[in-house]
């Protein structure tokens, strides 16, 4: 079932948590709401669930207006960051809860409930824990049970609020991959909130980047990462170097160096910000007359297959981060203190509103 969000606004006192957000989630997709804390992503998710009322705007499920429907009527599965399992019930009873509270007419028989619960517990690979209580489980297990519980009511939409936020790094990575596989299996339209860009990039079909209650960009992980629409998205997804310069007639002036402004960017003449990812910087030894940014190598660190370089610009002492494949780094045999020439392979130029 598709979700449409139309012009949602929500304020808490003076604070605008969600500021005129519209969003489409097509049937069967797994969408990430990504943003820093306070960006309104959780509030938006809770409005979709009906746990929070929007000040204005509409939420449509499969084209039908659900704005005024009560949470319990919306048929959404909701997974909380801190699991919110019922601790006085066994794992089995937790998962069965949604079936047991159904009106008598539509409540499945005890046998059907048992069948369904075991089926779900097998899906989350925790069938052997059916008789345990939540406090006997690890965080990762609890979250999987919470997911099974949410899926028991056969929700039209699955909403996950920072589902892996409370778990340690290793479990998080495992669950991430597992959630993706699970989604491919059950194919329920899902929205999950995260502040972890890696998580969003790895798991989702599409990413909605939010900042200060607004949507900054919507796109596939690939799109959002390699073609960020705004400076914020650039900075939030992955590491990036920011250069302050000026644009004039399609050329960007950074200190002594000059680069062509790529097509399709907003490059009015004036102050400009240029964004370059660390791995999109070409590096060579300094030779007189070579074009590029002159910088000195401060430190180099090899981590696995990449070498991370910390460079200091000669003209204004700005620190620049660059990444090279490890073999290329060995080839160049760079040493700290050497003077190098940097050339961005890719760069994005944005008009600098603050400086002009």
């Amino acid at each position: 079932m598709s979700i449409e969000v139309r012009n949602i606004r929500k304020s808490f006192d003076e604070f605008k948590a969600v500021d005129n957000v519209s969003l489409d989630v097509p049937t069967g997709e797994l969408v990430a709401l990504l943003g820093p804390s306070g960006s309104g992503k959780t509030t938006l998710l809770r409005i979709i669930a009906g746990l929070e009322q929007a000040d204005s705007g509409e939420v449509l499920f499969h084209g039908e207006d659900a704005t005024s429907a009560h949470v319990s009527e919306r048929k959404v599965g909701f997974v909380f960051q801190h699991y919110a399992l019922f601790r006085h019930m066994t794992v089995f009873e937790n998962v069965a809860f949604g079936l047991r509270v159904r009106p008598r007419r539509v409540r499945p028989s005890e046998e059907k409930i048992r069948e369904k619960v075991h089926e779900l517990l097998q899906l989350v690979q925790l069938d052997w824990l059916a008789g345990h209580y939540p406090h006997q489980l690890s965080g990762g297990q609890r979250q999987r049970i919470a997911l099974a519980r949410a899926l028991a009511v056969e929700p039209k939409v699955l909403l996950l609020d920072e589902p892996f936020g409370a778990l340690d790094a290793k479990v998080r990575k495992e669950l991430r991959a597992w959630l993706r596989r699970l989604h491919d299996e059950v194919h329920v339209t899902s929205v999950f909130v995260t502040h972890d860009q890696e998580e969003a990039l790895e798991v989702s079909d599409r990413i909605v980047v939010m900042n200060q209650g607004r949507v900054e960009q919507i796109g596939s992980p690939e799109e959002v990462y390699s073609r960020p629409a705004t400076p914020f998205v650039f900075g939030f997804l992955g590491n990036v170097n920011v250069f302050h310069g000026r644009t004039h007639d399609g050329w960007l002036q950074l200190g002594d160096a000059r680069f062509e402004v790529p097509d399709g960017t907003d490059a009015r003449d004036g102050a400009a910000l240029a964004y370059v990812r660390p791995h999109e910087i070409e590096i060579e030894r300094f030779s007189p007359g070579a074009k590029g940014i002159t910088a000195q190598l401060q430190r180099a660190l090899v981590v696995g297959a990449t070498a991370r370089l910390e460079l200091e610009r000669e003209d204004n002492a700005q620190i620049i981060e660059a990444e090279l494949p490890e073999h290329r780094f060995r080839q160049l045999a760079l040493k700290a203190g050497e003077t190098l020439i940097l050339r961005p392979r890719e760069l994005r130029v944005f008009h600098d509103h603050a400086a002009s």
Partner: protein, 283 residues
């Protein structure tokens, strides 16, 4: 040498002093609780079995047992229901004057019971603030068992509110939200998720309110009117016997009261233990 399974009283702990603390606890309990209570048993033992039986089965004494335990149980039940409601409102809602209401709950604790008794009598008597409205309806409160009940409800209320309040405060909103997203109605959420969590504390509150009510004297004697066979409570019977220098008779009644109370509390504690085991698995 085979090491049999030995029961260990003492568990390893970073804080030493088990022996001292345990010893002190036992001496203290013995001195403060057991010694006076056993004195009652010793005094009672001066009576022959027949004398004892006659004393405690006298119609007037039996009537007082019925009233004391009946009214105390009923008052505790009423306090449990409305105390829960009060605690819920105090935790869950914000309203002007909430702090004052919260402080008012403790008043029955703080007030001298005689003052409470006199005040209740004044309010519920035929020409009192509330009594004048009840009188035409044919409801007489003062000098009836109903009056006893009113006084016991009054003094028992804080016990339930104060034991349940912190537990309700600890319930996370997410738990209720989770139940709602799973399709539970408000009532189902309360009955299946919230109530089981509160139940052990509620039983504790019930026990305390009941125990307090059984032993209550000061507030009751004013409003009860103390008519034999009608509105005479057990503590009053005991006092009356003492005033007649019938010490053994007084302790005999006291012993029966003690045993019945102990039995009640034991059963409630068992219930509580069971519900705690069943419903709360604390992380």
């Amino acid at each position: 040498m085979s090491r049999g399974k030995t029961y260990r009283f003492k568990q390893h702990s970073v804080l030493p002093g088990f022996g001292l603390a345990m010893g002190f606890t036992l001496v203290y309990l013995g001195l403060i609780v057991l010694l006076p209570l056993s004195a009652a048993f010793v005094k009672t033992a001066t009576l022959s079995w027949a004398q004892f039986w006659d004393t405690v089965t006298a119609p007037r004494v039996l009537a007082s047992f019925r009233l004391s335990f009946g009214a105390s149980l009923l008052a505790a039940v009423i306090n449990t229901v409305f105390g829960l409601l009060l605690a819920w409102v105090l935790v869950r809602y914000r309203f002007p004057g909430k702090r004052i209401v919260d402080a008012l709950v403790d008043l029955p604790f703080a007030l001298p019971t005689a003052v409470a008794g006199i005040a209740l009598t004044a309010i519920y008597s035929g020409n009192g603030l509330i009594g004048q409205w009840l009188q035409p309806l044919g409801i007489k409160v003062v000098f009836t068992p109903l009056g006893v009940l009113v006084a016991l409800i009054f003094i028992g209320l804080p016990f339930v509110v104060r034991t349940v309040q912190p537990v309700i405060e600890d319930i996370e909103a997410e738990i209720e939200e989770a139940a709602a997203t799973l399709g539970a109605s408000r009532w189902q959420t309360f009955a299946r998720v919230i109530f089981p969590t509160i139940l052990p504390a509620l039983l504790t509150g019930f026990t305390l309110a009941f125990a307090r009510a059984v032993g209550e004297y000061g507030s009751v004697i004013f409003i009860a009117g103390n008519m034999p066979m009608v509105s005479e409570i057990v503590p009053l019977i005991i006092i009356t016997k003492l005033e007649q220098y019938d010490y053994a008779g007084a302790t005999a009644v006291a012993v029966v009261m003690l045993l019945v109370s102990f039995l009640f509390i034991l059963v409630i504690n068992l219930l509580q233990w069971w519900s705690r085991k069943r419903y709360t698995n604390l992380d």
